[in-house]
């Protein structure tokens, strides 16, 4: 089960700023639970952000990215009403895509 990514995208002077908070445990695989057993690794490995169908950012993550990954970046272009889509895949094969209209 996955939870939605919170996304905000605003365009100003021809530059769109995207702020996103992904919802993910980002478990390193090195932590132990109360009984001393290792908690298996579970983290986002790949992230892609689109403006309509154009890739505006892609990333590979390791488990050192914080839980509920936070991301802010800017790209040229984008117009109010266009879509910004954030898509991720994790090491267990789960994936999720969320989108928002540029304000």
């Amino acid at each position: 089960m996955t939870n939605p990514t919170r996304i905000r995208a605003t365009v100003r002077d021809g530059i769109t700023e995207v702020r996103a908070r992904l919802s993910h445990v980002m478990e390193t695989g090195m932590r132990k639970n109360a009984t001393g057993a290792l908690i298996p690794a579970h983290f986002i490995t790949d992230l892609t952000v689109f403006n309509n169908d154009r890739v505006v950012l892609s990333a590979q993550f390791g488990p050192s990215v914080s839980a509920n990954p936070y991301l802010v970046f800017k790209f040229r272009g984008g117009a109010p009403g266009e879509r910004v889509r954030v898509s991720w895949t994790d090491n267990l094969g789960e994936s999720r895509t969320d989108e928002v209209a540029i304000a």
């Binding site: 390193t28 390791g62 488990p63 050192s64």
Partner: protein, 154 residues
């Protein structure tokens, strides 16, 4: 003596091994490619990450800005701000020197996207954080010492 095995061992640990195994038909090219795509993430030292990324010894650059507080209460979420003023910045990587796996993230910056981003990383103990930038096919870096009160990986 099995020469092929010797060669494989010599190349081992790095990507050479995957290439060899794929070449010998032992694993599928897709699997080799997938491993290559994650190059650097399984390395455990700064130098190993740099060599897996093909960065060698990156040149220190004052055109890369790394904004991070010197002192952080909580190592589980240390906020980083990164700006590269290097022309043709195509890749930005974050390396946390003393984390069990130093490579935290690699961002690929397409044409039209600004090399200006913020994110949060875990820092297991006080240590330097390095930002590695690939611009115009060459590697540059900047480092900053960061202190954490409570480590972020336990």
């Amino acid at each position: 003596m099995n020469h092929q095995r010797r060669q494989a061992l010599r190349a081992g640990g790095g990507l050479g091994l995957y290439a060899l195994l794929a070449g010998a038909g032992l694993i599928s090219p897709e699997l080799a490619q997938a491993a290559q795509k994650r190059a650097g993430f399984d390395a455990h030292t700064l130098d190993a990450v740099l060599s897996a990324l093909g960065a060698g010894k990156p040149a220190a650059s004052s055109d890369i800005e790394l904004n991070v507080p010197d002192l952080n209460d909580n190592g589980a979420a240390v906020r980083l701000g990164i700006v590269s003023r290097l022309p043709k910045t195509e890749q930005v990587a974050i390396l946390i020197e003393k984390n069990p796996s130093p490579l935290a993230a690699i961002f690929t910056i397409p044409e039209g996207t600004l090399a200006d981003l913020q994110t949060e990383v875990k820092v297991s103990e006080s240590c330097p954080i390095h930002v590695l930038v690939k611009a115009g096919g060459r590697f540059y870096s900047v480092r900053k010492d960061v202190q954490v009160t409570i480590g972020g990986c336990g």
